[in-house]
Symmetry: C2
Subunit: 165 residues, 2 copies
């Protein structure tokens, strides 16, 4: 039995007590959250989210890529969100690599260099939160760009720290 | 007080009882999950995930874009995951639009056409799960492409349904 089979069994238990079939697709808090795929960060539990509250967009690093901007544009244009919360975290894989080292490693393994940036931010997560917010602010296809706030979640303590701009 | 301030207060309560500072960055189940940003789908709760279990990648539609493939490549190459679980859902915003209508709407509003696809899948979510798996299988930069399984989560019932390939 693969781990996926176990999770499917868990999902059957979840469905037995599921009361939320009536919720609308539009997030109740009119909020989209952008954060890292990291396995230690259960952002719903950290932020006390309930089903229906907020869009949650996650990728390696919690960075603002073209796909993040696509998701934010759809979130705001089709599903009425107006605020954005951006959360990076400490001990992130993205702080432990450089673009050059990652590309070289993939090239050695496959004979192909990625045609995308790994989106490494070797210095620190705070600085990358600031430039990620700048990426959102620069995208005219995202209608609501005023209420964007940035945070770093500390893996060691579980605390969420605001990043000052 | 904005909704974000409320969530920050929730996060303070979470940190007070946080016991997981010792978890490694590598997901315990060696699994990456790709799913939609939808606010009704708390994938940790549905699948019974604990902190540290799995990477969670989310975007509008739960589609496999270049950024999804970047995240999967980093997940497998740097953080040792080997399996992928792909979850679309019913009543998804992406099933209610067409590329043409979305582009026209953005163009009318901003004078700019997006240089990305909205990734609409108007017919049904099952078919898009199948082609999303095909996108993963076609990407040689993702080392482990054999154990990829697709599902559709039903918003009305809370049930997770496997998609046969």
């Amino acid at each position: 039995m693969s781990v996926i089979d176990e999770l499917v069994t868990n999902a059957e238990r979840y469905a037995e007590c599921y009361p939320n079939g009536w919720l609308p697709p539009e997030p109740r808090l009119r909020l989209a959250i952008v954060t890292c795929m990291d396995a230690r960060l259960d952002v719903w539990r950290v932020l006390g989210l309930e089903e229906g509250d907020a869009h949650v967009i996650r990728n390696a690093g919690g960075v603002v890529t073209a796909d993040t901007r696509r998701s934010l544009a759809i979130s705001q244009r089709l599903l009425d969100t107006t605020e954005i919360m951006l959360i990076h975290h400490t001990d992130c894989g993205s702080t432990k690599i450089t673009e050059d080292a990652f590309r070289e490693c993939v090239y050695r393994d496959t004979g192909i260099r990625p045609d995308w940036a790994a989106e490494a931010f070797p210095k620190n997560a705070d600085l990358d939160v600031v430039q990620s917010i700048a990426r959102i602010r620069a995208d005219e296809l995202i209608p609501h760009r005023e209420r964007v706030r940035g945070f770093v979640w500390e893996v060691k303590t579980g605390r969420l720290r605001p990043v000052s701009r």
